[in-house]
Amino acid sequence: MPDPSSGTRKWGMVIDLDRCNGCEACVVACRVENNVAVAGADECGKGRQAYWIRVERYWHGEFPNVRASFMPILCQQCQNAPCEPVCPVYASYHDRAEQVNAQIYNRCIGTRYCANNCPYYVRFFNWFDYWFDPVVPTINVAYTNPMRMGLNLDPRRNQLNPDVTVRSRGVMEKCTFCIQRIRRARLDVIKQGGFQSADGIEHVKVPDGAVQPACVQTCPTGALVFGDLSDPESAVSKLATSERRFRLLEELGTEPVVIYLKELRP
């Protein structure tokens, strides 16, 4: 039986930059799936926007010979993550069962140390309670806005995904590799005859392709591929051996499991 803490099960993602055309469908899909708040134009202008996956755009060359390149960046789910040891309350921790960086919103006290220590800038702080408040920086929205007093009058509340927590002000949030989907797929396998050991960790094999994070599911060009890197037969493992592979800021020793593919052009 595989030891779940030994990293034998290792979710990973391959992002083929040669296929990405920068459409940002992944950004939208992620926002919908994970209840990522819309901060509004003013807050975006102040750098408070949240997107668990973003497409970084860089320009090459001088006008008119300009070429854009796109780079989708999400949490790299480092296996040696700098954000984890710095959190004083274990809000940022390593999920042993799934080998991903998880964030426990209930524990987070908002020191923002994890975000400072993330070289990829993929941790997002809730500067306000953003949810459907017409004016954001008002004194306690909870008391002045009837929609926050349990009346739930705003129909937009119905768009929230019930599988994912809605985060309050003052906590950090981040990409989880859509852990709610991973867990659901595992439950499905258990229902079909898999088993769960006494320590609560399911030692079951989820078939390749049964789990897709929202961004992967949405990508129209198939640039994003998700799967189990510990299974040499999975699609993601096969792609990950490509000679085009590199990992972002690999020199920092963070051991990310997001692998980028890019053809080197002279």
């Binding site: 807050e43 102040k46 750098g47 408070r48 926007q49 970084e56 755009r57 860089y58 960046i73 700098p82 040891p85 710095v86 959190c87 004083p88 309350v89 274990y90 524990r107 987070c108 006290i109 908002g110 020191t111 923002r112 140390y113 975000a115 400072n116 220590n117 993330c118 070289p119 990829y120 800038y121 997002f124 702080f125 809730n126 500067w127 306000f128 309670d129 954001v136 920086p137 008002t138 004194i139 306690n140 929205v141 309050s168 002000r169 003052g170 906590v171 950090m172 800021l249 920092l252």
Partner: protein
Amino acid sequence: MREEPVHISDAQINEDLTRSLRRPSLLFVLVILALLVVLGVGVILYVYMVLSGMGVAGINRPVQWGLFIASFVFWIGLSHSGTLISAILRLTQAEWRRPITRGAEAMTVFTVAMGALYPLIHLGRVWKFYYIIPIPDGRGLWPNFRSPLVWDFMAITTYLTGSLLYLYLPMVPDMAVLRDRSTGLRRQLYTLLSLGWRGTEQEWRHLHRTLGVFMVVILPVAVSVHSIVSWDFAMAIAPPTWHSTIFAPYFVAGAIYSGLALVVTIMWLLRWGFHLENYLRADQFNNLGKMLFMMSIIWFYFWFSDALTTWYGRVPAEFETLRQTILGPFLPFFVTMILCNFVIPFATLGFRRVRTTAVGFVVSLLINVGMYCERFLIVVPGLAHGRLPFNWRDYAPTYVEIGIIAATFAGFILLYLLFTRFFPAVAIWEIKEGQLLRSTRDVAGVKLPTITRTE
């Protein structure tokens, strides 16, 4: 300015050093009121920030730590020298320390108190701050002892407790003096604080022995506190220029430097405010000024070796951060820092005439302006210009941050002024002891020192 100590009668010492405890002047009351207003505004802004969200401050992504954390480092740095200098000077039995110790120790306690507020102020969910305290709970969940913030929490609570005791212990004999000379509520307060001190030989022996232990123990505590504050930064690998091995000694040097400068500032103000010309003399300011001069060189040495290594190494992200600091948008702060921390003190404090006149007071103020810039430059540029240029963003504090920070400055001055209203800012017994040590007696025609040694 008078250099050598004059002989002052014991009654006159009591009179001089308890002058601040009597009816305050109108100016004093007005200053207190003004400080209360600033403090009140800060408290209101803080409540506003807690109720609405951290977004009312200027911090953003990627600059998640801004002026709050810079101020935190600044205050903890200021706290450094009070206890440290008092302990070092007591250990080396430097006679000129006597009028300085009390004021320096009080400075430490109040600056740590202000610094300790900032980790709470900057928390996103301050109402859950107790998650960081190691208390057994039903979840069996302890704080993460690998996190430098937990080290920080413990170091600061230790230092605050230690420096409070180190302020209080040598105050006990003075409390007895005040107890015997006051009436009413004040008498009750001093009776409580004097712990039944009668001034017997045994009590003095106990006091000196306890102080002897304390000043040895408080030194490593003081050094560790600012090292740990530096490790908040040095343990982080992501922001360029933070992950540096020199940070711990560099922070300690900077802390001693800024704290010493504040001691000088406060000593000048005590001298002028409470007419302590016969106690805080040229001797004190001359020696403190020499220490400042030395610290300015040490500070520059540390800063320069760190910056030169980064510059010469040309590691892209680190070099870019340094370039932004020196030549980019942070240029005004950088110039202020170098001028106030090195150029001006180095050029002026070599002269005795500067050290022992009001110019020395101005220089001591300038040093702390420079040190504030230094704290800002440590925290912000590394965050603002990190490894992925797509996420670069500058930072400007809002009125909320500035108001809250101003309130902690007002709070410090307020605490200090109130301290001088209730306790003598210069240790009465230390001055008397010093006089006794200097005096000689005529024994059978031979002049002999009254006491050969007390400590």
